[in-house]
Amino acid sequence: MDLKQLYQDIILEHGKSPRNFGKCEGYNHDAKGYNPLCGDKVHVYLKLNSGKKVESLTFEGEGCAISLASASIMTELVKGKSFDETRDIMNAFLNMIKNTSEIRSNHLDEDQKTKLMSLSGVKQFPMRVKCATLSWHTLVSAMKGKKEEINTEVID
């Protein structure tokens, strides 16, 4: 296992100064996520425009470096995407962390893929996978307009 892989500079940096932190103005969707294992909490705020695309996306929350960085990077990558595109990106991300070691998605450019790959170190730390995926599950839930809190002990 390799700590340097896990705590890459970009992760530490996003963890320390997460982007798009706070409530975005005029949000029309939001959802909460909770990881009881470590107490990580995330609250995602989302403004979908009339074309059902992500106009703005922000989050609030507390958690470990991995979970904050993952949420922060997510808010950067998903802006402008549709629901289906977002879901595809999430699946590509989950697949990268659980199975393959690359991101397979047509909805991200190479730079974006590289950014997302900064989370690939989690692969070697199975107990930390949920830290990296919580914000994504919460985002999808927000887009679906679900009311319940996402709970990593209840989802897989």
């Binding site: 909770y34 009881p36 294992l37 730390f125 107990m127 709970n151 209840v154």
Partner: protein, 406 residues
């Protein structure tokens, strides 16, 4: 694997009992353990021990993974559909109590009926009796015949609109009766009645496929399947585990705890409160591998051969009477000797190194039905061979001599 030489894999058989080689015919009570199982337990405690679950250090991650591997193995071994359908308890008794308590809490009210059979072990009667005491349920006993078979037509007649559950053994720990579970489940499901199967004696000795049986609940214990003590297994269809309330409350079975509300964890953790028998569950995986390395068909063939040999030889001994003669009989042989009480038999056999059990074997209802207070019981495990049966018969002859029987 050569089943004839399998005894050598069980270290206990190099021991002497009262100066005689051990002839162990008490496997229905608990089985002996093969070296691979003992070594695994030893190894885990020596080199890998950690609690599972919430810690994220390497030892804990390793233990958690191995723990879940056992769950996966059990799932495959009994052909369940989902890993989350396998819940670890401390023994089969707790597994049955878990169902009786949680199912009862949700579904049993005064006057509701529970059907069990006259073959049941106390562990598949007392938990239902609790519902009689606390919720006013009615327990109906499906009768058995002289052979020790459940009379299916009679069981059928007992089902009414008030029947809430049927609880039945898969294999009797007295007569060795193999109960036609699939048929009973079909009958019950036609009337929307769920079925709990006590599989304690079945899992070590016959092929068990819970998907094929289609039962709702299936309980058994690791210690009878060549595994360590302290581990029971409950299989339950996911829909039940999702619907029923939790059983034991505490650490690990929760997701979120506040002063005014508690959210329970997902399956199977919802039913696994507190520190599990971590090392023992992890070790049980070796028992399953041991069973699989023999192959359940080979094991059944072997035990059948020994059973038939035993029946043949015992039947030839004057004044020995085999109790029950079921259509399908596994290697569990209860018997009496006219003129010698079972407890005297057990004591005398033990002097010859032959370990059997005497008493009611936690089946007083059965014994009362058969008008017996006690029986002697020889039960066969994978390690028994014809020599063991010869020793048994010789020891019985010794009993007869001491008691001066003709």
């Amino acid at each position: 694997m050569n089943i004839e030489n399998i005894k050598s894999q069980f270290p206990i058989f190099s021991k002497k009992i009262n100066g005689k080689p051990l002839v162990y015919l008490d496997s229905s009570n608990s089985s002996q353990k093969p070296m691979c199982v003992i070594n695994k337990l030893n190894d885990f405690y020596k080199n890998e021990f950690s609690n599972i679950g919430r810690s994220i250090h390497s030892l804990a991650v390793n233990a958690t993974n191995k723990f879940e591997e056992t769950r996966e193995s059990i799932k495959n071994f009994i052909n369940a559909n989902f890993k989350e359908e396998i819940v670890f308890t401390k023994n089969a008794t707790e597994a049955i109590n878990l169902v009786a308590t949680t199912f009862g809490q949700q579904n049993i009210k005064e006057g509701d009926e529970i059907i069990i059979t006259e073959l049941e072990h106390h562990s598949n009667y007392v938990p239902w009796h609790f519902l009689r005491e606390t919720r006013g349920a009615i327990i109906k006993f499906a009768p058995i015949n002289e052979d020790g078979d459940v009379i299916i037509d009679e069981l059928k007649k007992l089902i009414t609109l008030k029947t809430k559950i049927i609880a039945v053994t898969h294999l009797s720990n007295v007569t060795g009766t193999i109960v036609p579970i699939k048929e009973i489940v079909e009958i019950a499901h036609k009337k929307n009645v769920p079925v709990l199967v006590d599989g304690c004696q079945a899992v070590p000795h016959i092929k068990v496929d819970v998907t094929d049986l289609d039962c709702d609940f299936y309980a058994f214990s690791a210690h009878k399947v060549y595994g360590p003590t302290g581990v029971g297994i409950l299989y339950a269809k996911k829909k039940w585990l999702e619907k029923l309330p939790p059983y034991i409350g505490g650490g690990a079975m929760i997701s979120e705890v506040k002063k005014d509300k508690i959210i329970y964890a997902k399956l199977p953790e919802k039913y696994e409160a507190g520190t599990m028998p971590t090392a023992e569950v992890i070790t049980f995986n070796e028992s399953i591998k041991f069973m699989e390395s023999i192959g359940i068909d080979n094991l059944m063939k072997h035990e059948k051969e020994i059973k038939n040999y035993a029946l043949e030889k015992l039947n030839k001994i004057n004044s020995v009477k085999i109790i029950g003669n079921p259509k399908n009989k596994a290697g569990v042989i209860a018997f009496t000797i006219k003129g010698i009480h079972p407890h005297d038999i057990a004591t005398i056999l033990d002097e010859d190194g032959v370990a059997i059990r005497a008493g009611h074997h936690c089946c007083q209802i059965f014994h009362e039905k058969m008008n017996l207070t006690a029986t002697a019981r020889a039960s066969i495990g994978v390690y028994n061979n014809k020599d063991d049966i010869d020793m048994l018969c010789k020891a019985i002859e010794n009993c007869r001599k001491i008691f001066d029987l003709k």
